[in-house]
């Protein structure tokens, strides 16, 4: 297999994740879309690492991506649940009190 194949898969995952963030109307799905984006970047790390013939830096970076994703999931969900209990909604459009219009 060539590197390009992995990169294409990662690109597809990335785009799917971003599209999910852009189009789904639930904060939890926004978070899930972000997980896909993170997965795609981790996959890129590992693929480049493998095909550059180097050490394991790419795998380590992917490991840290997973750690960050775990932290993001925990905090993100806590925020979503808190938002739900205070506003009764998890639609991103309802959380715009910081916007100016």
């Amino acid at each position: 297999m060539s590197l390009v194949a992995y990169l294409v898969v990662a690109a597809l995952l990335m785009v799917a994740g971003l599209a999910m963030v852009a189009s789904r109307r639930s904060l939890i799905h926004v978070l899930i879309g972000l997980e896909l984006v993170l997965n795609a970047s981790a996959l890129n790390f590992v693929a480049f690492d493998r095909y550059s013939g180097g050490g394991q830096e790419g795998q380590l970076a992917a490991l840290f991506v997973i750690v960050v994703a775990a932290a993001e999931a925990a905090l993100g969900l806590a925020i979503v649940l808190h938002a739900y209990s205070s506003k009764g909604s998890i639609r991103p459009d309802d959380f715009r009190s910081l916007g100016d219009s």
Binding site: V9, A19, A22, V46, Q56, Q59, A74, L81
Partner: protein
């Protein structure tokens, strides 16, 4: 068709298919479950790339941890706002599809990247990763930062999840 190509096709189909299903499925919980397939597919791709430890970690943390967390969250809030707005969705898809096509072409134009014939044999990675994570010359400091990050996230999540505590405390 070698076994590697077969495995790659299978896993990438799982990954991309799961992601696509998660994107397009109307039901929130279904998209979450579709994500399981995507995560497992990515884990398989890691295996294909010789990163066995990472693959298992992906399953353990993403499928067993993070996804469970999301499912839990989905069960705690009512399924609302399911249907995306039509116009926005079309725009998103146009924007999403276009870069993908261009990416494919752009990358394939440079297919000289990463000569597969020179690849080293994959070998066990646990020892190397463990040593790299725990040697001061290696990734020890990022490793400790990651643990601090997780601790901070833990404390923050616990604080945020205490229901109505702010209301009781507020004067």
């Amino acid at each position: 068709m070698t076994g590697e190509v077969l495995a790659f096709s299978l896993f990438s189909a799982m990954a991309v298919g799961g992601a696509g299903l998660a994107l397009f499925h109307r039901s929130a919980i279904h998209s979450a479950f579709a994500l399981l397939a995507s995560f497992l597919g990515v884990a398989g791709l890691y295996l294909n790339l010789g990163a066995d430890f990472l693959a298992v970690t992906q399953v353990l943390l993403y499928a067993g941890g993070i996804l469970v967390l999301y499912l839990f969250g989905l069960m705690l809030v009512p399924p609302e706002g399911e249907a995306p707005r039509p116009g926005r969705r079309a725009l998103a898809l146009v924007l999403a599809a276009a870069p993908v096509a261009i990416f494919l072409i752009a990358f394939l134009a440079r297919s000289s990247w990463g000569d597969p014939s020179r690849l080293p044999e994959p070998e066990g990675t646990v020892r190397g990763i463990g040593l790299a994570l725990l040697t001061p010359d290696g990734w020890l400091v990022p490793f400790e930062y990651a643990s601090i990050l997780l601790l901070a996230a833990l404390v923050g999540a616990v604080h945020l999840a205490r229901r109505s505590a702010p209301k009781d405390d507020s004067p």
